[in-house]
Symmetry: C2
């Protein structure tokens, strides 16, 4: 028997509600197998910050590092100044655990409402770099609050960091039927970073001769995402462009209620972290109104990452069936009713 | 009688074709008035670069600076390395002439095909900062081409630069019926630049008490642009976010064939420049396949900027009528046929 040793950061707002359903479905899919789950909750987020001023201590990090994987709900509430928890907790986890592959699949499941009139067959994955770019916190300001203020933000990009995520993206592209990789950047303006990315893609492409390589500027990519999203298979891009494109991708494939993500350290040196793309939605917190599907799909990504692919596909199928059952069915379900339905489907 | 003294940079690809139609419509709308047009063509772009290696000389700049306004078609061809003409010509013009307001209206005209199933009533304008941010060219790389390469891009933001564009955006919001301004940034990650923008908006808001102020992160903004674009009235944002959002905005309002822009220096110290948002589209160049409407609408923005508002609205109405006439009409028109139709409509 194998025990999955998980750190659970339920977080704020709807976080605890959706994480409860994610764990419910995880239990259900493992029932009857020789895999069990051990969860350790970590009290991190707005509540802790309000109480202690702490975001994530070295002790927290060391403790979390011992687990096999992390499941995270959502972080943040309006009472915390912007940036404090994002940089002090969420991004700190991604950086400390070297989550250089931020994996965000976008699939338009049959029956899901989309804002697009003719979406076509949408099934792509964004491999967003997770440890570099404008997210490194390498900025600063002088003369703050005066008319002479200057505020800089530095995007840091390294051959080391770009090459490894590009190689991961190529491998994912090669494993998919269409075997197509699109680099998204803005190398006509951000020439230094952009050409580094371009050269790394060209170099790694030689190792994957069966993968078709494409490029588009980030501005043009947003056009394609609404006019012809089916053209994409694997997108590899930097941290900020990936942030923007994956929210747009979520919107066209049924909303962030369905968008899952994995913050992956492919080397296994640190635990990978799985979280829905959505935020803590304080306006609906505690009301059982949140759709836990994105968290459940993040659990599936986690299982896949941990090598439990059969269980991962069972969750994915359950979600597809559940979504199909929503078509023409106006009944509003609570967060836990959706979790129950998914748990029943994976168990069966 | 007044003579509009224009510098015309037709540029590459479809540039000359669409500019010809823009000038045709300009002539037509001024016929019978006491305003005439004098145009001076400037040979800039890929052809010149291939021939001489020059992008934009100090002499070019000095000559162009003497005109009242600039009409630009499109720049670029695949034979020029990425970034050379963008930074050496297009951005150089925007920076040299301090075009700090990059104005990009997005209107969904009745009858225009949009990828959105239920777009609603879309009519907003993006005020994109044009002289700062990650566009300043303040980056660099070390150990290029080695595994130890580091490539940085610096986004530079100043109180001086942000305040003036924010004030311009507030004034535009105040002049519109809904009087609403949305700041788009990413201040939870880009804290230094983001908080500078936030503070400038808060400070300038005091001068415009009747304008409603809103904020959203750039990633969330892309969601709103496809789920509820009608919520936006005036968006003010930085150079890079504005680049991304305006391509998406163009896509949802009928494509970049219709998207106009003005690179405006509101002080009048230098000529403002008007250009379609689209590129040079070398694949269809010289074939009379390009839609000149974006250029014609850019001419309308130019007339508005030059105080000829009656003529500007006549062009806008002509475009609306022309677009309405396309509905259910499968006839494909050439670039100059569309220009002729618009010229006939503005002439009355
Ligand atoms: C909350 C924020 C820091 C985060 C990001 O920008 O990465 C979020 O938008 C995401 O996409 O996971
Ligand atoms: C060509 C490029 C430099 C330019 C930009 O990024 O500003 C274009 O995309 C635009 O939006 O006008």
């Amino acid at each position: 028997t194998r025990t999955l040793d998980l750190a659970v950061i339920a977080g704020d707002g709807i976080g605890p509600e959706v994480v409860a359903e994610g764990l419910k479905v995880l239990d259900a899919v493992l029932t009857g197998s020789d895999v069990t789950v051990a969860t350790t909750p970590y009290e991190l987020g707005a509540k802790r910050w309000h109480a202690t001023g702490e975001t994530l201590t070295e002790e927290d990090l060391a403790a979390i590092a011992k687990h096999e994987a992390i499941l995270l709900g959502a972080i943040g509430d309006p009472g915390v100044p912007s940036g404090v928890l994002e940089r002090g907790l969420l991004l700190k986890l991604r950086f400390a655990f070297d989550h250089y592959v931020n994996l965000r699949p976008s699939v338009l499941y049959p029956g899901v409402p989309t804002p697009l009139a003719n979406p076509g067959d949408v099934d792509f994955v964004v491999v967003r770099e997770g440890t570099e770019g404008p997210y490194v916190g390498n900025g600063g300001a002088i003369r703050v609050g005066t008319p002479a203020e200057v505020a800089n933000e530095v995007s840091v990009n390294t051959a080391y960091g770009v090459e490894r995520v590009v190689r991961d993206a190529f491998a994912r592209a090669q494993a998919r039927p269409r075997k197509k990789l699109t680099l998204v950047h803005k190398h006509n303006v951000l020439v230094h970073a952009g050409h580094l990315w371009r050269r790394q893609v060209e170099a790694v492409a030689a190792e994957f001769p069966d993968v078709t390589v494409d490029y588009c500027h980030v501005d043009a990519a947003t056009i394609y995402l609404v006019n012809d999203p089916a053209r994409f298979d694997v997108i590899v891009t930097d941290n900020l462009f990936g942030d923007i494109l994956t929210d747009l991708a979520a919107a066209i494939t049924g909303g962030i209620g369905l968008a899952a993500s994995g913050n992956i350290n492919p080397t296994g040196a640190f635990p990978s972290m799985f979280e829905p793309v959505h935020g803590s939605a304080p306006d609906i917190a505690g009301q059982q109104k949140a759709d836990p599907t994105a968290t459940v799909l993040s659990v599936a990504l986690m299982l896949e990452h941990l090598g439990l692919t059969e269980q991962a596909s069972r969750i994915q199928r359950a979600v597809e069936e559940d979504i199909a059952s929503r078509v023409g069915n106006p009944a509003v379900r609570t967060t836990s009713e959706i979790g129950d339905a998914l748990a029943a489907r994976v168990a069966g």
